[in-house]
Symmetry: C2
Subunit: 335 residues, 2 copies
DNA sequence: TAATCTCGTGTTAGCGCTCTCATTGGGAGC
DNA sequence: GCTCCCAATGAGAGCGCTAACACGAGATTA
């Protein structure tokens, strides 16, 4: 294992000063093309790679973007994360993602501390509540902050899926099929996304002069299953359900099926997220698709812009889309 | 935003030399308790945090473990990743994961380059082929390497799920239910895991003196669906299918159902992975469960050990487990 | 033609830390 | 009481890089 080449080795081989090499690395403007070429050749020959730590020490810039995220066990956050990684890499940034649990302040501190140590340039907060964001703001004061999946704020750039509108779309889809007794099963009550979807549902119901019927849930399959059984046990059944995410829908369908309530014949169901499995389960799930790629790209894009030249903070949204499959159908007359 | 405190500020406040502060930070042994206390008080007062970059520059130790992984879009790798992050954090290491695509050498280089820049202490290679690992070995020569989901090697520590045995278990389960015409749909042919599962299948079939019947696939739902249709079109149907992963199984079930072939009445199906959705689809999927947490912990554990005191390389395995649900049943006599 | 300005490059000084070596002031050993 | 040693601390160098300034040579201006 030979010693790694440094900037002086390159300089010597190319017959220039180390500073000229540095200029090549940071592609400075005033450089003779011939010199640049010579240096580049030397770099290639020595397999030289600039030492990030040294660079960081002098520029106090780490080229690392931290991501603080609640609940990576879920499809949504995880899809966003992947998109962000791709996008950041193109711009020469690395991503460190730290998942924390919203209900353990200790885990926040740990996560924030980890990012602090790495001297990250920016943090993207995904799906965090205000309290945590405040903490981030305080502890990572020198980092640029971008917020995803949280209420818009004047202090940061925010990027969101059209959660509310998605809720409206899902609900109106069911209404347009003739359903009147429509239940909504929410995500966790302390989350922004779930709240917005719920508001969307309520807005659409109100507009159609229908009575809202909300059951509080979370994002899990298990809870969906449990609630599905609860619904099946009702004296008068609803004819349609709109769930906060696809996992809830899957759990509910399972429970309903076990109770001999057929989907979609007896009950129409709309999910949210459009997970990859959605079109392969039986019945294939009608759902609201979120463009996680676009969301991730947008968030990283804003981060890069703010990192380069801080500008006025804005709120961005990414549209949602209704994907109709087999789990919803027209309400049979007489019901 | 005031200047961050450095080691000299602390030293001055505590009335000692910077070197003594450094000793406190690295809790050196020969230090008067009184001095240590004084320094610690100064650290607290100034909110001092050692600068990671400076440290790294001099020690050439980053406390970062890189993870190179093919295909994070899949449940398995992603679950492993999460487990690793948790485990590494406890030991004070950060994780940077880079996903690459096995069939694009350019993406390997990019990924490796990114890790190189960060001066990672170790790399964990998940689900990579030999060619890529060779490349990693060459380019990241100063990093400790641990291999996951790949053939055992004398040069590195390796950690694997019992893929072969899982394949045997799945197949024997079907055989024990009376099935004789059992098809195996594989994962991608260039992947180690898929190969092992296939070998397991072949081994079990051979032992039972049954004829192997293998269809090559990949890990995707779409491919499962396509192959499901192909199987449905056969003149004589098999009575059972063992698939390389759960997504394939889901796709196949969808196709079979559309062709009026009922699961499990007409066809028993066993998957592999036991994704969270497995017990919530209809019919609930019989599958081979992998303990991804254990796998991740083990890999990180080995990495930490090798990082601390390089020892002889060993191969480790994590057991797989058959989880029987609804998608398999006894072969009806007369078939 | 002298004064000024550019371009392309070299020189020097740190960034904040740890390493190595030097230094001091007692206590043990004789 | 003297050497010797060791525990406890300090001083200085240097990790690899970039920023700021310096400098010479040719081009441009007055």
């Amino acid at each position: 294992m030979t010693r790694k080449a440094n900037i002086y080795d390159v300089a010597k081989l190319a017959g220039v000063s180390h500073q000229t090499v540095s200029r090549v690395l940071n592609n400075h403007s005033s450089l003779k093309p011939a010199t640049r070429e010579r240096v580049e050749k030397a770099i290639a020959e020595l397999h030289y790679r600039p030492n990030q730590a040294a660079r960081q020490l002098v520029t106090s810039q780490s080229n690392i973007i931290g991501i603080l995220i609640a609940g990576t066990e879920l499809f949504g956050p995880w899809a966003i994360l992947n998109a962000m990684k791709r996008e950041a890499r193109v711009a020469g940034y690395s991503i460190i993602s730290v998942s924390i649990s919203s209900d353990s302040p200790e885990s926040w501190h740990e996560g924030i501390d980890q990012l602090h140590k790495l001297d990250i340039d920016g943090v993207i907060c995904i799906n965090l509540n205000h309290q945590i964001i405040k903490e981030v703001e305080k502890s990572l004061s020198s980092a640029t902050i971008v917020i995803v999946d949280t209420e818009a704020s004047k202090k940061f750039d925010t990027v969101n899926i059209e959660n509310l509108n998605g809720g409206v779309m899902a609900t109106e889809h069911l209404i347009s099929l003739g359903h009147k007794k429509i239940v909504h099963v929410t995500g966790p009550s302390d989350g922004y996304e779930g709240q917005q979807r719920r508001f969307g549902y309520e807005k659409a119901m109100q507009k159609a002069k229908l009575k809202a019927d909300v059951i509080e849930g979370d994002w899990s399959l298990e809870t969906g299953y449990r609630i599905g059984n609860e619904i099946a046990a009702r004296k008068t059944l609803p004819t349609a359900i709109f769930t906060g995410n696809d996992h809830l829908a899957l759990g509910i369908i399972k429970a309903l099926t076990e109770n001999r309530i057929r989907v979609p014949q007896d009950m129409s169901i709309v999910g949210f997220d459009d997970i990859p499995e959605a079109s392969y389960v039986s019945p294939a799930l009608t759902s609201i698709r979120q463009d996680f790629d676009q969301l991730g790209n947008l968030a990283i894009g804003r981060m890069l812009i703010q990192l380069k030249t801080p500008t006025k903070h804005k709120a961005f949204t990414v549209p949602a889309e209704l994907v109709v499959r087999e789990s919803t159908q027209k309400l049979k007359v007489g019901k």
